[in-house]
């Protein structure tokens, strides 16, 4: 377990991440007003930023950067099934044959 000296170092990280998160939010909203020409790019950029932010929260606030193996296993399995869920749903939606006829 970390002693209080370590912790005060952590506190600095927390503040840094807090600021990074706020900046991320501002950028996302800013980009919305700027408007990219293509909606796809807008969506991609917004999701990338959100993902980065979530990595910061999960990695540092939730200490995932330095967790135990058991937790990694649990979350790894979960993320895998989550991706299976989304991926196979979307795939199956695109793979519906069209009606036939003239």
């Amino acid at each position: 377990m970390a002693d209080s000296h370590d912790i005060s170092k952590h506190v600095k990280t927390y503040i840094g991440i807090f600021i990074a998160l706020l900046i991320g939010t501002v950028i996302t909203v800013g980009l919305y007003y700027v408007h990219f020409n293509s909606i796809a790019v807008t969506i991609a950029v917004a999701l990338v930023i959100a993902t980065l932010k979530s990595f910061l929260v999960a990695g540092y606030f939730m200490h995932l950067m330095s967790e135990k193996k058991t937790i990694y296993w649990i979350m790894g399995v979960t993320i895998f099934f989550f991706l299976a869920l989304v991926g196979l749903f979307v795939w199956s939606l695109y793979d519906i044959p069209k009606p036939r006829g003239l």
């Binding site: 519906i96 044959p97 069209k98 009606p99 036939r100 006829g101 003239l102």
Partner: protein, 257 residues
């Protein structure tokens, strides 16, 4: 092939062109199942007699030696693989991808609703009239646009569908309300009817006569009685029937107004 498969599996006779392939696969799988089942059962019965406490008071820590089990497992894997790759996948592909040419086929729109099947025929011009959801009313359930000239010779039948013999039939299956399932068991045809989607299936009847269309998906309290008939008749009779429908009273474009 006079059909020992249908006989031993107790299935209805084969009455559509693609049905034999499906039956064959069903047969091979059941042979595999039977071999496994009988083999294991024989082993099982032997073992419980041979190794009962009375016969074998002292158990053996090592148990079975050798690789017999690996061979059995390997065999199952191989057979399943063969059935999958050489039979199931191609069969499905031909059911879903290899559609007959629509020009030479009869194309039908079949719409399920609680609790009947409504089939729309494109008529002599082989083109369906336009449909529009906003036109839907109790009198015009299909929402056909009567102004469209293509709609003039379209006609509809409820529950009693007629198709010509030995000609490909393409059915676009859909539903107005809940999910139904359009099934003609002797033709080995089953397709869910899902509101909001139009799903195509096809078959080629090879035996004239009457068949039952059944709804295979629970759709409400009269699900069990949602029965239609499919009548397969030779081309000449079919043409006569279609002509009478297209111009007959209560059918044709007139009924949409």
């Amino acid at each position: 092939m006079t059909n020992y498969i249908t006989k031993y599996l107790g299935m209805p006779p084969v009455t559509a062109a693609h049905a034999q392939g499906l039956d064959n696969l069903l047969w091979y799988i059941h042979v595999l199942m039977a071999v496994l089942f009988v083999g294991w059962l024989a082993y099982f019965l032997y073992v419980i007699v041979r190794f009962s406490k009375a016969r074998n008071p002292k158990a053996d820590y090592q148990g079975l030696k050798g690789h017999a089990s690996n061979y059995v497992e390997g065999l199952v894997v191989v057979v399943e693989f063969v059935l999958l790759v050489f039979f199931a996948i191609p069969l499905w592909a031909s059911a879903v991808d290899k559609f007959p040419d629509a020009k030479d086929s009869l194309v039908l729109d079949v719409v399920g609703s609680q609790f009947s099947w409504r089939a729309r025929y494109p008529g002599a011009d082989k083109i369906f009239g336009k449909q529009d959801a906003r036109l839907v009313s109790a009198e015009n359930l299909s929402g056909v646009d009567a102004k469209d000239p293509n709609a003039k010779d379209d006609f509809e039948v409820v529950n009693d569908i007629v198709v010509p013999l030995n000609k490909d039939v393409i059915v676009n299956v859909s539903s107005m309300d809940v999910i139904h399932c359009f099934a003609i068991k002797p033709m080995r045809v089953t397709q869910d009817a899902i509101p909001g989607l139009k799903l195509a299936t096809h078959f080629k009847p090879t035996v004239a006569g009457t068949y039952l269309i059944n709804c295979a998906q629970l759709c409400g309290n009269s699900h069990f009685a949602m029965r239609g008939t499919l009548t397969v008749m030779n081309q000449a009779d079919y043409d006569k029937w279609a002509a009478s429908k297209a111009t007959g009273a209560g059918a044709g474009a007139g009924s949409y107004e």
